[in-house]
């Protein structure tokens, strides 16, 4: 959250003048409203005030409005990695905006609709999960404006604030990655309805009139929600579940006289609500049966599972597929004979070094990696999935679950069918998938100095760069604690960076002592090796020692090799550099004072450096520097 606020505050100065204008204008409006108070009230004054309190003057105001809404909803986003909370209305939903102060292409791109006969412009605001830019979409889903993220913006600041332990060396990187997916602010999109300020009053008036008319029609009675309660004697239900030695025992109760077979389904992801077969066509008799789930997932699979049971015989459309299976597994229409499952087959190939189960994913959204309809292969091989509903487009892809966490991690090998999305109308074969390694680097950051700050690790393709495109940040403060005490990171720290293109990379890191989010010369830094390393798959053991001084001359290898052009393996250049500092102090000292300065500590020692610094501090008051006059 701090990072997000930082992003916003960074723009305040640019809008100071317009902010003042808002104040003046708001004051004017308040006066106008106060004047009207004596007259007939046509609309809700409190609502009018609430709407104008959210008035936005610029695109940055709209971004400021968006951010708190985003973080307010983030904790309640369903814990499904691919789920994005879309179309959520903000509070207030109606926002007056000053069109002339917004970017031209933004205003030009707005698509309006009429509410209470007044034009309103819905805009969906989203954070791009890759670039972290804030994007604005119009009613038709077209991108009409983008705001770049502020320098140093950390999308996981909220997570770090809430779960700092994830960023300690004790936390497994996969665990951290999981939560970063869960609490990624990009999973929350907010829709604002922009309205011209002059139209607000009309909108409120019309709304008041409409509501009044509705109340009159409904007789002014209160609305009541009817709750339906199912009868357990006419339906199938689970009456008991118990863990047993070889699995999970469950008792399924059905109506007396029910003799059809019974299908049991399992679902581990409630949001897509796609079920898998747990058991098919169990024989029934009496009023219940006891079944033990011994499927593989009981021992090794999903920790949270839901079960359902359905009649395995009833087939309303007569297409040969029972209604329960069509609804639960195939996601086809049980009332249409032409809607039924099809068989999709192909093969998965992979030539890289990684091992682990291969999941073939059949997703109905391009970004989804839901395992709901997936197949599991022990290794790259041919596959056949006969549970794919037809008349539906699928993104068919595969990944190798190297760490066995049942989720695709950014660094795990994956591939997608070249023909995605594939509209499945009938059986189809040859849907081959070639999995490729994902470039990633893994290693440890070591440091024994006294500097503190977040540790930034970057993978760069240019030796003199700190480009943050491929970067990870390891926080220094890991927890605020329940009583306010702070816990700090300790070295060595593990890190990983994944998802960069195949290339040669220099891997370097620094301690951000001044917390400005970028490397400042003098901050402890280090680089993995002198030369770039090739990264085409998962490269482990990429260790970096910060502040390393190989030649012991007081200048770190990084400062010598990459900042000041000195030789990290030649102590003499450091001795010379400090001799020049001493010379400069002596020269300036004797230009002011009648006596020469004394240097009382061994050259290069910390005491010597501190003594030289003190003399510089003293000298600085005697000399001047030119610069621009203060505005």
């Amino acid at each position: 959250m701090v990072q997000k606020l930082k992003r916003l505050f960074g723009r305040v100065d640019l809008r100071l003048l317009s902010g003042l204008a808002v104040v003046v204008l708001a004051a004017t409006l308040i006066l106008a409203v106060a004047t009207e108070k004596e007259e007939a009230v046509y609309f809700d004054k409190a609502e009018y005030d609430a709407i104008f309190a959210a008035r936005v003057e610029t695109i940055y105001d709209l971004e400021q409005w968006f951010v708190p809404q985003q973080y307010a909803l983030l904790p309640i986003v369903p814990p499904v990695a691919d789920f994005v909370l879309k179309g959520q209305p903000g509070e207030p939903g109606l926002i007056p905006f000053t069109a002339e102060k917004f970017p031209k292409e933004f205003v030009k791109g707005l698509v309006g609709l009429r509410e209470y006969s007044v034009p309103v412009y819905p805009v969906t605001i989203a954070e791009n999960p890759v670039t972290r830019a804030v994007e604005f979409y119009n009613l038709e889903g077209q991108l009409i404006h983008t705001l770049s993220p502020a320098t140093g913006y950390d999308p996981f600041a909220y997570l770090k604030d809430k779960m700092p332990a994830l960023y300690t060396t004790r936390a497994h990187p996969d665990t951290r990655a999981y939560w970063e997916r869960m609490l990624d602010p990009a999973r929350v999109q907010i829709t604002a309805r922009l309205i011209e300020p002059d139209d607000v009053e009309h909108w409120l008036y019309a709304k008041a009139q409409v509501l009044a008319a509705q109340a009159e029609l409904e007789g002014g009675g209160e609305m009541m929600m009817m709750l339906l309660q199912e009868s357990t004697t006419t339906n199938i239900y689970f009456s008991k579940m118990a863990k047993v030695t070889n699995g999970l025992s469950m008792t399924i109760v059905y109506p007396a006289g029910f003799t059809n077979g019974l299908d049991i389904f399992m679902c581990s992801e409630l949001v897509p609500e796609i079920w898998s077969f747990a058991a098919k066509d169990l024989p029934t008799g009496g009023t219940n049966l006891v079944w033990v789930d011994t499927n593989n997932w009981v021992q090794t699979g999903y920790p949270v599972r839901m079960y359902a049971a359905a009649d395995a015989t009833t087939d309303t459309d007569g297409d040969g597929y029972p209604d329960g299976r069509e609804l639960m597994v195939y996601q086809t229409d049980p009332n249409a004979a032409t809607s039924h499952p099809a068989t999709v087959s192909g093969s998965v190939s992979y030539t890289g070094p990684e091992t682990g189960k291969v999941y073939v994913v059949f997703a109905t959204e391009s970004e989804s990696w839901s395992l709901a309809k997936s197949l599991t292969l022990t290794s790259p091989a041919a596959y056949v999935n006969s549970e794919i509903g037809n008349h539906q487009s699928y993104w068919i892809k595969a990944f190798r679950d190297v760490n066995g966490n049942l989720t695709r991690d950014a660094w795990e090998p994956w591939g997608a069918h070249a023909g995605n999305p594939l509209l499945v109308t009938g059986d189809v074969s040859g849907i081959d998938i070639a999995m490729q390694d994902v470039p990633s680097v893994w290693g440890t950051i070591s440091y024994s100095g006294a500097a503190t700050g977040d540790v930034y690790v970057v993978a760069i393709t240019s030796s003199n760069s700190w480009d943050a495109t491929h970067q990870t940040v390891l926080p220094w403060i890991t927890s605020g604690g329940l009583t306010g005490e702070q816990y700090f990171a300790s070295f060595p720290m593990n890190y990983s960076i994944a998802g960069m293109p195949v290339s040669n990379y220099w891997i370097r890191a620094f301690v951000d002592e001044d917390y400005n989010g970028v490397y400042t010369p003098g901050e402890p830094a280090g680089q993995h090796a002198l030369n770039a390393i090739p990264v085409s798959n998962r490269v482990a053991g990429v260790g970096i020692t910060l502040g390393l001084d190989s030649d012991g001359d007081g200048f770190t290898d990084f400062e010598e090799g990459f900042v000041s052009g000195m030789n990290p393996d030649d102590a003499q250049d450091g001795i010379t550099a400090l001799a020049i500092v001493r010379s400069k102090i002596r020269a300036h000292w004797t230009a002011i004072n009648a006596t020469a300065p004394t240097f009382s500590h061994p050259p290069g020692s910390q005491a010597d450096l501190n003594e030289l610094k003190e003399k510089l501090m003293t000298l600085a008051t005697n000399f001047f520097v030119g610069g621009p006059a203060a505005p």
Partner: protein, 462 residues
């Protein structure tokens, strides 16, 4: 300074917003000076220290320029044009005539110099107006070419930095005219537009000093070792064109030239022992300054330095071999020689070998050194290349054929000799077996080593 009156009708003619905040600009450069502010890092790193030092300037002050009041004035120009068919034509007319209508304000420097200009349409025709107030400041940059610090140190002024006006040599007469942003003043500004710009001169004056220094690396060194004298001149953006490196004995006032040329560094082999003062004089195009003196101590070589020399190693090894070869069951003898350092050839040299008398198993061996060779120069100048006698080497003899063992290493007599002659003593003898001794019948090929006797190095001459 008093502000000049603006013509009131200007505001009536032109729509220059009275409510608009008016900023006073500096001409010719937006420059003010302030004390250097450095970040005080608690435990500073070497890199940050270097960066910190790089922020130190050679600019001192605040001082002032010396204004020639007779030649200093402000000039007020004004031009009108009206009745033109276009704004551009009216403006062109104003630019052509404004210099013809001026008024001098003698001995005045205004803080609200600048201009008011604009074009405006009235009754179907165009008019234009330009009012321009200009300072003409005549001054001398400094009375002398030196700045004396509050503690009485005299420094050479390299430049006089006059606030926003510019940088000038010391003791220079200047006539500065400003503001002179001609493009902003005379370029056509458009139709129906008016601008009002205020400028002033910042006359706060500072001196940029020329401060040379000399780095001696290392400040204490031994004969035949390499030494570097590195001239530093601040500010570094003005590299001197010539450097004169000089040296004198600390006890003398006679300076000797080491080098005189464009090179800022001199690498020398230490040749003369003693305590010296060195300095460098740096020449720029219009300035010259001499560094403070740096002490340099040239020592005679130490015991470790002597025995590390390859020629010494070769020669002493040969002497030890000779000693062993000369050992029989009935006789043995020592040998030795004086060690010299020739700073002209930059080599170690050795006087003729002294061979001790051959003695039997029951007699202690010895060698009588010949007379110590004199130094080539009794009182060398700092730039001579003398030869010095710095050490005496001799061997001890085996006990292979002796009936009793003995202590190894320098004897008391050895130490007395070396101390008396103020030379480093180098003795080759067997390595001790136990208690600093070797036994009788000690194998002749047993391990040997060099031992130190007497002073660590010859005493430094005055």
């Amino acid at each position: 300074m008093n502000g000049a009156c603006r013509i009131a009708m200007v505001l009536g003619l032109l729509t220059v917003s009275a409510a608009q905040a008016q900023t006073t600009n500096l001409y010719h450069t937006n420059r003010v000076f302030s004390p250097i502010v450095l970040t005080n890092y608690p435990n500073i790193s070497a890199y940050r220290l270097v960066n910190m030092a790089s922020q130190l300037t050679e600019v001192v002050g605040t001082t002032n320029i010396f204004i020639n009041t007779n030649a200093t004035k402000a000039v007020e120009y004004e031009g009108f044009a009206w009745g033109y068919e276009s704004a551009n034509a009216a403006w062109t007319s104003v630019v052509a005539v404004y210099q013809s209508y001026s008024r001098n304000h003698t001995n005045k420097i205004y803080d609200n110099a600048g201009w008011v200009r604009g074009t405006k349409e009235a009754y179907g025709s165009w008019g234009a107006y330009l009012w321009y107030l200009q300072n003409q400041i005549s001054f001398t940059t400094s009375v002398t070419n030196v700045w004396i610090s509050p503690h009485g140190v005299t420094n050479r002024i390299l430049q006089v930095l006059v606030g926003s006006l510019g940088d000038y040599p010391p003791q220079t007469n200047v006539l500065d005219i400003g503001p002179t942003n001609w493009a902003l003043i005379t370029n056509y500004l458009g139709s129906g537009i008016a601008t009002d710009v205020v400028y002033k001169a910042n006359l706060d004056t500072y001196y940029e000093l020329l401060i040379p220094d000399l780095i001696v690396m290392p400040p204490t060194n031994s004969l035949l070792m390499t030494n570097v004298f590195m001239a530093m001149s601040y500010p570094t953006r003005f590299p001197p064109t010539n450097y004169l490196f000089e040296v004198r004995r600390a006890a003398s006032t006679n300076w000797y030239t080491i080098t005189n040329g464009p090179s800022s560094a001199v690498t020398t082999v230490v040749a003369v022992a003693g305590t010296f003062n060195v300095r460098v004089t740096a020449w720029l195009t219009n300035a010259v300054a001499i560094s403070t003196e740096r002490e340099f101590v040239a020592q005679f070589p130490s015991y470790q330095e002597i025995i590390a020399n390859t020629a010494v190693i070769q020669r002493t090894s040969q002497a030890w071999s000779n000693t062993l070869a000369a050992t029989t069951s009935t006789g043995r003898r020592e040998e030795g020689f004086w060690i010299q350092v020739n700073t002209q050839s930059q080599r170690y040299e050795f006087a003729a070998t002294d061979i001790g008398p051959t003695v039997g198993p029951y007699t202690n061996a010895s060698v009588r050194p010949r007379s110590k060779p004199s130094d080539s120069h009794l009182t060398p100048s700092p730039i001579d290349r003398p030869t010095y006698t710095i050490a005496y080497f001799h061997t001890h003899t085996p006990t292979t054929y002796r009936p009793h063992g003995r202590a190894v290493g320098p004897s008391r007599a050895d130490s007395l000799f070396h101390n008396n002659y103020d030379v480093v003593g180098v003795v080759q003898d067997y390595s001790a077996i136990s208690g600093g001794n070797i036994p009788s019948n000690h194998p002749i090929g047993s391990a040997s080593q060099l031992y130190h006797s007497g002073p660590n190095r010859r005493t430094l001459p005055p």
